[in-house]
Amino acid sequence: MNSGLALIPPAVIVAAALVVLLLEACFGKAIRDSLGYIGLGFLAACGFFCVRSWNKSYSYFGGRLDLNNLALVLIGLLLLAAVMVILISFKYIETRSLPAAEFLALLLLALAGAMIMVSSNSLLIIFLGLEILSVSSYALAGLHFQDQKSAEAAAKYFLLGSLASALLVFGLALLYGAGRSLDIPAVAAALHGASSLHLAAVAGLGLVVVAFGFKVALVPFHMWTPDVYEGAPTPATAFFSVVPKVAVFAVLIRILAALGGPGDRGGPFFWVLAALAVLTMLIGTLAALRQTNIKRLLAYSSIAHAGYIAVGLLAGDYAGVVFYLAVYLFMGLGAFAAVTALSREDAEFLELDDLAGLGFKYPWLGVSFSALLLSMAGFPPLAGFLGKFYIFSAAVRQDLVPLAIIGVLTSFISVFFYLRVIVFMYMRAPSREVDILQENPGLFLVLFICLLGVLQLGLNPGNILALIRMAVIGL
């Protein structure tokens, strides 16, 4: 249905960002503590709208903004991620004295960008969304401006991110030259067509994939990830680990669906993506083995997870990909929430050594963090196992057995470093006194939700899977 209502989700979020900034400007300190709740209110309104517009497929701008069911599911995931990040950040902002309004506004703007990406059908609009997401993210990464590491993270993110954007623009130019349009269906037609410009289209698509690879940190375009994850304020890191993944993989799903599956087996696109997936799984896992900083470890683990999701894309199992994204949302956000809990006014405890003995000192934190790590490692009956299972079984069904084997072997190796974190939490004597802020209801609520999500999606994902399958059928 052609209707301006398709504009509502990003519009609400942008409005929220502006309102937050204005309120801070008008009332200053007086209102600082309630800004987060205002943001949550807007997010809830947006979520309500999404639920109401299920099955209505609003579209606008001649179909370029297309709020189909898949977009709604993904927007729902993005909203959930944003809600959890805000809940995590309440105490963190206060204790680490971050600028609350700026943090919230940037977060919401980045979210709006991601929403535009998942709901758009035109590569140009997707590019706009990506830029909104990226630019806000650069600023978010550097929000700790007294902290050198944070500044370094922002600079690195910015430099490599703009390189990726440049590549994306160049790729779009080539695609436009080949197809006279940047709408995904037209691009797909240009790729299928045997015109003389076919090569340009393929090269353009290649550049687009490389650029997206940068954004979700597919190896070899992952160099920025560990540093940015380490330097950025932890709630922002949680945001980076989930939201860009959801947005970019949504775009890739749209492109692949328009191309009619992952393409012919011999096609260059297929091989490039397969090579990226294999490298990402391998390098992400192997590099994580050597990390001693928990944020860097989670950074590499998030790289490896991007690799698994890429395998799902190759197997054409879009429902599996979306399910994995949902699962990763809980695992990634939960893990970073647990890391956020390990901070105090004057210090953050981010080395593995700091975790020693934590499991017994803070039992609920320890149990949730362990469950999330075990889920990431793919132990049943937690959700991570089911996510991997769907993706690898789709790969086997498509005769991609080697990819599935590499996948299970890397996830086997990954067991080692996830278990190592647990070894520190439960099986080592503490080396230095770590006491953390315990009155942090928002954060513990998030941990609880993530634990619940990981169990629910692992044991009884029935309704959620059905929803995702319904959403994907429309493609």
Binding site: F379, P380, P381, V401, V408, F412, I422, V423
Partner: protein
Amino acid sequence: MNAPLLSLIVFLPLAGAFLIMFLPKGRPAALRIVALAFSLCAFGLSIILYFRFEPGTAAFQFVERARWLGFGIDYHLGLDGINLGLVLLTTFLFPIVLLSSGTAIQDRVKEFLIFLLVLETGIIGVFLSLNLFLFYIFWEAMLIPMYFLIGIWGGKRRVYATLKFVMFTMFGSVLMLVAIIVLFTAYHRATGLYSFDLVDYLQLGLSPGLQMWLFAAFGLAFAVKVPLFPLHTWLPDAHVEAPTAGSVILAAVLLKMGAYGFLRFGIPLFPDAVARLWPYLAGLSLAGIIYGGFMALVQKDIKSLVAYSSVSHMGLVMLAVFSLTFEGTEGALFQMLSHGLSTGALFLIVGMLYERSHTRLIRDYGGLSRPMPVFSAFFLVCLLSSAGLPGLNGFVGEILCLFGVFRTGKILAILAAGTIILAAAYLLNMFRRVMQGPVTNERVLRFRDITLREAACLAPIVILMFWMGLYPQPLLRKMDASVSRYLQNANRNPRILVNKPLPAIKVPTPLRAVQPAVEEKDKPTHE
């Protein structure tokens, strides 16, 4: 009455763990009683299973089936003569282990009990699952509590031992996951149906080439668990470092999961691959018997001596399994149970000694039978049961195993029987140096004899040892029907063979028609 007995047995311990999670940790005695009560309930229910088990039929009994995730991933439990004994063994040993940990585990009792109960659920689930997906879930999930049990309450090198244990087991099982998915895909391509069900897969005629690959993946997972000879290196570490409760469960039940995997999945699903590979597998089993025996001879540590004796005994079990004969299979099943009892008891006894002296080295002991006469008697019975003295359970299992092995290869049987003498050698030698002889260390004279709690742990085991040794008939006859059906599957003639790697595998149509009939036959049995 039509209670879901199997589900109750599987999930009662988990419910207990959940309950304990919310009880205050300040009163460990109460927590222990709750845990013990839950595991005793599970044991009581499995006794009901034993008496209501219908020995005449080979079909699965007490079947429970429910849709779960769709696409063939169902909740499907069932009992037959192959897993009946193992379920009983598990539920029997867990209360004993919980009881025995009363003195050994003093800190973090709550967490210990939770992990132990979760472990029980995982193990029973492995034994009862008939859906491969469900089986895999239990198989993997069971690693987590074991990982914590060794890693938190273990000895000095516990972190190394527990990581090694988990990594070895995981390595085998991730490839099994791929193999399960391949089977699922093959079944789907052949019939158009989605299923992870063992009963369905048994109808599938796979090409021998594919069978080899799949058997390799399944076999690796099971062989690590058994453990077959070159993959055994995790076992001594894990056993030695684990707390007594962990060692008992590891040796008595966990190792059986590997052999059970071969009996339930590996051999019936891939008979052609087994027909081709069994000489090698039998060779590895024999190597395990000999290697384990000689290693046990030279151990200085009692616990690692018992651990290596497990390698040796499980080698004999596997040799009998690969003989694919009726006697051999029943013997293997029986030997699994009796090895569970005798090795479990030996680990308990080592734990009791350790609590008194805080050493496990043989040379620190000597002449213990003087201060501890009753204890010494218990020790001797368990030891002789492990060494296979006629009249005790070990003998029945071993002789049946050897009968089976003898029918497939005389040389194999002679070598196997010859090395069983080693068991008597290392066990009796250890007994002589620990319990008899002059008192070398004055400290041992102050050791108290067996306590009431310890006697309560050992007495049921010893009674069962005598019962199984003197009157094994009831147990064996319950296995007959299932074992002969298993052998039909394992020795069936090659059916429709397709040489293409994956697609186009035909299920013989009459068999598909038979399938629902089998299920209907199952239904009345649990009413």
